[in-house]
Assembly symmetry: C2
Amino acid sequence: MATNKVSLAGPITLRDVARAAGVHPGTVSRALNPETRGLVNEHTAERVLDAAKELGYRPNPIARGLRTNRSHTIGVLVPDLMNPLFAAVVRGIEDGLRDGGYTPLIANTDNDTDRERVAFEAMSARQVDGFIAATATRDHWLLADAVALGAKVVLVNRRVDSDALPAVTGDDHEGVRLAVEHLTGLGHRRIAHLAGSQALYTGWSRHQGFVDAMLAARLEPDRSLIVFSEVFTEREGARCCGELLDRHSEFTAIVAGNDLLALGCYDALEERGLRCPADVSVVGYNDMPFVDRFRPPLTTVRVPHYELGATAAQLMLEQLHGVDAPPRQLLLAPELVVRGSTAEAAGTVSAAGAGPVSAAAAGTAGEQAAGAAGAEALSNRRKADHNTPSLDTSQSRR
Amino acid sequence: MATNKVSLAGPITLRDVARAAGVHPGTVSRALNPETRGLVNEHTAERVLDAAKELGYRPNPIARGLRTNRSHTIGVLVPDLMNPLFAAVVRGIEDGLRDGGYTPLIANTDNDTDRERVAFEAMSARQVDGFIAATATRDHWLLADAVALGAKVVLVNRRVDSDALPAVTGDDHEGVRLAVEHLTGLGHRRIAHLAGSQALYTGWSRHQGFVDAMLAARLEPDRSLIVFSEVFTEREGARCCGELLDRHSEFTAIVAGNDLLALGCYDALEERGLRCPADVSVVGYNDMPFVDRFRPPLTTVRVPHYELGATAAQLMLEQLHGVDAPPRQLLLAPELVVRGSTAEAAGTVSAAGAGPVSAAAAGTAGEQAAGAAGAEALSNRRKADHNTPSLDTSQSRR
DNA sequence: ACGATTGCAGCAAACGTTTGCAGTCGGGTG
DNA sequence: CACCCGACTGCAAACGTTTGCTGCAATCGT
């Protein structure tokens, strides 16, 4: 009779439920936790559940966190949310984590090491249970240290050189292969590459992919047709494309490391009175929102960013649930989206002579694509990446 | 001598610092908190600070939160992070909150009431100290209830009809005035409006602004030239623009409630073989990233979204610091960005016959239009909006 | 010189959970 | 019957802070 009270004095606590159910708070705790429910009599458990629902009990995650050193929170480190690419990744992460009852704690680092460390430590202090990072450079001390200290880390979109950290990224190697194949299919022979920063895995692997794809197409990846940019921005794209043009090496197409870099190409070409795709074809990477609206609509490689985030979340959940499998590196299959920025090679057709793409090349391409569609750890592929007779990437050290 | 220990056994706690400084943990707590530092001897305080820094002490926000019922965390409710508009707002919020030592906890609601409530309650359970919401509809029960229950709430980008909730938004009224003025300056007289959802403040106020601006330009806002969309998407924009065109009312320009709607206009116009801006000018709203890249580059009204978020954060911090001023509604100044989607009016000069439209016809049509368009009660336009013009620029400087 | 005031620091009780340990009770086994 | 075992559930100690209260000097007022 005395248990009937108006819910006024603050939120309902475990003790309130205990009182209502006529049991000890500890029992309530056990009854409410699915893990430990087996320890309490089925009948009383039910009574407790009822009382809890009746009172509208909501557990206090803070108190729980203090006791358990777990917050059900995952720190998400991202370079810049304003970049739609990362926004999509973050949404994927959020939705993926929700299924496991976890919440993301998001911080932008602006690619600044100091900001990242600050964010990282703030998150650590807040007792996050793990980190999902989209900020990795190929050699990332911070994350490596963190994992050495026992932190759970999953990389997304970008990974590190080492296989020590679990990661889910797009299959860049395959992606630029698709791009190059598309261009060669249009008759392009002299294809340039505007590579992204080689300190970032995305920039590096796309460059590797480009070289391999060119070799596979029996084309010589001409060093004078490759330029390395520092950052993934339009300005930088324009600068580098200008540099490319100033070299006066003939080329009819550009594979850009990024949609932003591709956009920069638009600018540089226009500035010099060249037309895309009439004079030179451009293909980007990522398929950001609205690139289909550009002038011309951009041919690009779509990366499933949302899925990247969602599966990264899955990987994290697995790790949190104590699965102690070795870190996996997942590759998600990209997809070529052909739009208006690529056209048949006109300028150099005369120069390169006639001839469709060889059937052999198409055949092997198909097999690789099928394999990649599986999207599971293609560890062998990774080795292929590293074995590539890499064309002088050292010049691009920042 | 005994105080010298390797930092191994877990993180440093208040007690560790106390031991090192030779004082009681309570004293350490007081010394470390600027608020209460006055209670402890200056000399000992210094000793404590030194010890804390020496040991690399990091306070445990969880424990603190348990004791104080404060988490130094702000719940941020946003419709969709993938919309670059909101991404910018969120970045502004994050940066603004950081100055005050607060961290945002972000959730996407997808404009879904249920998801919003779930997110809201999850955040409440996590003891957030307040909410910044970009999800408001003009009548928002959830947020109103929350504030009635003592929650601190600040609205951003969208506000509610009532003046009860503090909010910082763009000055939509002024924004579309700029747009209309720009168009009339180019000789447009028959100007259509593709309004956004009237359930959202942005949609509603821009509509109001349109009507007022037309009246101010001595043009009659023709009811047949106004169409209301349901949601801010390209598809919807195309649909509504098509509807507008099907009415066969002459017009030479469209003011869209949104860049996305404007994009939809592009589609609808193209579908009907009309050209922008040659046949009809289009102006958007928001100046999303990359709209300068569209075909044609979109003339639009820039809203300082980042600053919106940053000042919303400021408002929240004020509220948290116990300032008990009545809720303020801040307006940030918009800016017209003229690009390629607007041009001099050409078409209707011939269609409407000689010279300007007849005053008489315009007059009667105008009255009807005013009455009809006034269905949205334009007469009682928010006076508050214009009572606070002085605040907006001063507050927008961060 | 004596009581009152002040400045400072220690004490301990919270905050709401979780969880090892111990106790209780009933029933089965030797 | 003594014993033990299993199934429960109560007890209480944590987790790391904050904060009202108390205690104790030293200082002040007269």
